[in-house]
């Protein structure tokens, strides 16, 4: 190496090192992880459903929690819930984390209801203008008179008698009853506090942070657990706490992912470093060899954070897996530098193997670039992380590593022994081609078995198994408090609040007809307590403008025995204009906390959600809502199934496209069918073997498995390319074989641990990749031998 060349290498090394430090600082400052499953919702088909599902997830509804406290008797439960509420208000972890924490109705809610609605009662005399007109018929007025008379005969007539002079149609009593049932189905009051019918005390909460923000949710959940534990200790262990909330699932999932990723990262890193030290006997080499891997992960994380603002757990898992991919380049260089070094040092060794390294990396990148075409934001994130990370690792291998490696590596018994064993194994394989054939056939058989038995997962539902204990706890709460469906909604949309409320009125009209036709049991809508101003005006107008209303009303009530002159407030109201109730009026009242759960805003649009109870005919309901302007039927399970099937098909296309792209890259590189086949066959057979392993493990070939298969293909091609590129020279060939063996071992270490994860996504990645790369390791030399290597070709 010349002096100028040496300066150039050092300058490149300094630049590479500086870039790594800068990226590491960026990652440290901006790091934020998530387990948000929404990231894996499609942006293509069902886009609107996905957007609305995201809206629910991000809305106050998605942030709501219910804490249900049980005790030997209701009074104890109420007292305990009150004490837990006090503790949570005092605890700094929860005090500011709750947007709302209510154990009792808002103060003065009855007065607020009266003040909001009494002067507008004629706008609430019916739900629709047609119904209002029907209430103004002589027959309906006669029935109203008789109803009032019956009510006055009841023991509590004192109250009705006070309301009736201004409200002889009893609109306010009906509205009160409807509103109170809207405030909480299955919930009653004890000592002024919310309780279930079976005596559990309730706390309704909403968190400030989105449910999927596990980092923010964890301290809050810890505070709840601690508050309950303290109160339960004081009660002698007689209390129970059941909690419902999306945030609990998100936190547990995030913990599982992060825990597994940390374990995999630490254990595989330690094992790799130990293996590298045993092979190369140099602490300097061990430390230096980790740099490209670390640099790749840091660069991938930095790119992801810069593009998305946070990293998904799946992307992190791939980050840990990158160790297995990027270390291939380092190991390949180290093995050649140790076993078949160039005279002038590591840079020259690198230059010699660079075509193979670059080809391997390009095929890997091509595979991951294909993923960027996915409609899942999560997979696009994975693609970005992988492409940037692998590119960076390759760059650090080329520009940083040679400057830091010693000119000569110390001898290693393990390395020498491994080289001898692999040389013997290779020569036996050459001598007994039946073994090579058997290896290929075994991979093919495993793949065939896998394809015949493979369970093709939907691609979305398989992404996150919910903790069964948490699910059971959630069900215990929901069965007592909120039985409304959690995955099927109707959204009403508008450019303004009033426009959205008008759509919401139309939805409520349609759903009332649906209830009458038995398509669902009931629904909960903001239209109950705040119809659109247009609807309120129309209802009041339809009632008060009925011909001769005042005279007919008077006649009906006189015939029922009433004195019309006692209803002066009512007859005056018939002539007065009604000022409609607005959304702003409601938000300034104690009803605000309840009302907020119905509204979500997104991208300048206003949405109102309607909750459904016991949907029995989803198809009919969907068809009915489809005819309502401004309304959208959201059936998350159905949309997820549709989207899952579409996305899996799309990902399979991407997988095939990736294979084709890899193949074309190899053709462009080698322009020799034999070499292309030798490089490509291990990847294909390795992927087939991985499908077989998934079938054996009882795991579905889902979206994640397909993605991992793409990675197996990329790594299998690496092995094939490295071997194909080095078979002209026996020393190079043995060096490559040792490198491939070590690289495979390091990948298995990383992925093998992922296969033991409790998190299904990580388990699938682990099984797929570990089985795949082992098959690649076995098939790569076998296929090279069967197809004939360069030296044999020369002999022929």
């Amino acid at each position: 190496m010349t002096e100028v060349g040496g300066r150039s290498v050092r300058r490149a090394a300094w630049l590479a090192g500086a870039s790594m430090v800068a990226l590491a600082c960026f990652v440290a400052l901006r790091f934020s992880a998530t387990a948000d499953i929404v990231a894996f919702m499609p942006d293509g088909d069902d886009r609107q459903v996905a957007a609305l599902a995201r809206l629910v997830a991000d809305s106050e509804l998605g942030r709501s929690m219910v804490l249900m406290v049980g005790a030997p008797d209701t009074d104890q439960a109420v007292a305990a819930a009150r004490a837990i509420e006090t503790r949570l208000i005092q605890d700094p972890r929860s005090r500011d984390a709750f947007a709302a924490l209510d154990g009792e109705p808002p103060p003065d809610i009855d007065r607020a209801l009266w003040e909001l609605y009494h002067d507008r009662r004629l706008a609430f005399v019916a739900r629709t203008p047609d119904e209002a007109a029907a209430r103004a018929t002589s027959e309906a007025l006669a029935e109203a008179a008789n109803r009032l008379k019956r009510e006055l005969a009841n023991p509590m007539s004192t109250l009705i008698a006070r309301v009736a002079p201004s409200d002889p149609l009893l609109t306010m009593p009906d509205l009160y009853d409807e509103l109170h049932s809207s405030l909480g189905g299955g919930v009653s009051l004890r000592d002024g506090r919310f309780v279930t019918e079976d005596g559990h005390a309730l706390l309704f909460a909403a968190t400030r942070a989105p449910a999927f923000d596990a980092t923010a949710q964890r301290p809050l959940l810890d505070a709840i657990a601690d508050a309950f534990a303290a109160e339960n200790a004081e009660a002698g262990g007689t209390l129970t706490l059941d909690t419902s909330g999306v945030n609990r699932f998100a936190a547990v999932t995030a913990s599982a992912v992060e825990g597994d990723v940390k374990r995999v990262g630490v254990v595989s890193s330690v094992a790799l470093l130990a293996l590298l030290f045993a092979l190369f006997r140099s602490p300097r080499v061990v430390v230096v060899s980790a740099l490209p891997v670390v640099g790749g992960v840091v660069a991938g994380a930095a790119a992801t954070l810069a593009a998305y603002g946070r990293i998904h757990g799946v992307t992190l898992a791939f980050g840990a897996s990158l160790i297995g991919v990027a270390i291939d380049y380092v190991v390949h260089l180290l093995c050649h530098h140790a076993i078949a070094p160039a005279q002038s040092g590591p840079r020259a060794t690198l230059d010699r193997i660079w075509p193979g390294l670059a080809t391997g990396a390009v095929t890997t990148l091509v595979g991951f670039v294909a993923l960027a075409g996915s409609s899942f934001r999560g997979l696009q994130e994975v693609a970005l992380f992988a492409v940037v990370g692998i590119s960076a690792a390759l760059g650090y291998t080329r520009w940083l590593l040679p400057a830091l490696l010693p000119q000569v590596l110390p001898a290693s018994r393990l390395r020498a022994a491994l080289a001898r064993v692999l040389a013997v194994a290779l020569s036996k394989l050459r001598a007994q081609r039946g073994i090579a054939v058997a290896l290929l056939l075994a991979s093919l058989a495993l793949g065939t078995f896998g394809l015949s038995r493979a369970e093709w997962g939907a691609g979305l539902a398989d992404l996150g198994d919910l903790d069964p204990d948490l699910l059971a706890e959630d069900d215990r709460v929901r069965s007592r408090v909120a039985r409304f469906e959690q995955s099927r909604f109707v959204f009403a949309e508008g450019a303004t609040v009033d426009e959205a409320l008008e759509a919401n009125d139309r939805v409520a009209d349609a759903l009332r007809a649906a209830v009458a036709d038995g398509e669902l049991a009931a629904f909960r809508s903001a239209a109950t307590f705040v119809p659109s101003p247009a609807r309120q005006r129309a209802v009041a107008e339809a009632f008060t403008s009925a011909p001769n209303l005042r005279d007919r009303w008077s006649t009906a009530f006189v015939e029922a025995g009433f004195r019309p002159e006692a209803f002066g407030q009512f007859t005056q109201a018939l002539a007065a204009p009604v000022a409609p109730l607005t959304w702003e009026d409601v938000m300034e009242s104690p009803l605000a906390s309840m009302a907020r759960t119905f509204r979500a805003d997104d991208d300048g649009r206003v949405y109102f959600v309607t909750f459904l109870l016991d949907v029995s005919d989803a198809d009919a309901l969907a068809a009915r809502i489809a005819d309502v302007p401004g309304a959208t039927w959201v059936d998350q399970p159905a949309a997820m199934a549709r989207a899952g099937a579409a996305v899996r098909a799309r990902t399979f296309e991407l997988f095939v496209a990736g294979l084709v792209a890899v193949l074309l890259t190899l053709v462009a590189r080698y322009r020799s069918p034999r070499r292309v086949a030798a490089a490509f066959l291990p990847a294909v057979l390795g992927a087939l073997a991985a499908v077989g392993a998934l079938a054996v493990a009882g795991l579905a070939v889902d979206l994640i498995a397909l993605t991992a298969l793409l990675m197996v293909v990329s790594m299998g091609v690496d092995y094939g390319v490295f071997l194909a590129d080095s078979d002209a020279d026996p020393d190079d060939e043995i060096a490559t074989l040792v490198g491939v063996f070590v690289a495979c071992g390091s990948t298995v270490l990383g992925f093998g641990l992922l296969a033991m994860s409790a998190f299904p996504m990580l388990r699938t990645i682990g099984v797929t990749a570990a089985a795949g790369v082992v098959a690649c390791l076995l098939v790569a030399p076998a296929s090279l031998i069967l197809l004939g290597n360069a030296r044999e070709g020369e002999h022929r």
Partner: protein
């Protein structure tokens, strides 16, 4: 929670201040005594002691409500059951069936179509309104003393006990609850509202020594009476 209960607290502050309908005060005439003539209780305490000693009560009644909104009074008939420790069941048989059941913790309505239960522990204001008659029949001086200004007058063999609410919101709705009778028997129960409306319940046939079997207690007063 029904409107009837929810609105109670509001009514006191909002409705009472509103224009009250004109009302014709009923001219109440005491009915015949329900038991053999005996000397009236000498004092309110003695009257309440006598009520407290009563094991149970079954009485036929005729209620006449004079309400300002109506041209003619509303009349209903039925049966009243009471037993300790504060269980009341009132069944209207005509003109249309209706039931009210009161326990120390709940109020239950049935109007012939729907049934509704209200937790009285959650609404102390409603509890006072609902249980005042129960406290009187149980002779519960402690409860009555906290909620009512009571007076007692005797005129020959006729007596009148008057309970005027002194706490809101009841005192804004009810002017007084009056019991009157001859000797030791209760003849009428009159509820006078601040609006001028009056409900007079005449006891036409009473058994003040009624003892209820376990089955009857459950049937009449509900599971809570077990």
């Amino acid at each position: 929670m029904s409107f009837r209960v929810a609105v109670l607290g509001v009514l006191a502050g909002v409705l009472v201040a509103a224009t009250a309908p004109p009302s014709a005060r009923a001219q109440v005439e005491d009915s015949a005594p329900t038991a053999a003539p005996e000397a009236p209780a000498s004092s309110l305490d003695a009257l309440l002691d006598a009520f407290a000693a009563m094991p149970g009560l079954e009485a036929r009644f005729v209620e006449e409500k004079t309400i300002g909104l109506l041209a003619v009074p509303l009349v209903s008939e039925g049966t009243l059951y009471f037993t300790r420790p504060g269980l009341l069941y009132r069944r209207v048989e005509s003109p249309s069936p209706a039931e009210v059941r009161i326990t120390p913790t709940t109020l239950e309505f049935f109007d012939g179509v729907s049934r509704e239960t209200v937790d009285l522990a959650a609404r102390p204001d409603v509890r006072l309104f609902v249980q005042s008659l129960v406290w009187i029949l149980a002779g519960d001086r402690a409860a009555l003393g906290g909620a009512f200004d009571a007076s007692y007058t005797v005129d020959g063999d006729r007596w009148t006990a008057r309970f005027a609410p002194k706490v809101a919101p009841m005192n804004e709705l009810i002017e007084a609850i009056e019991l009157s009778g001859v000797g030791r028997g209760v003849a009428t129960i009159t509820v006078r509202e601040t609006s001028g409306d009056v409900a007079v319940t005449r006891i036409v046939d009473a058994n003040p020594a009624r003892v209820f079997s376990s089955d009857e207690r459950v049937r009449l007063f509900g599971e809570a009476s077990r």
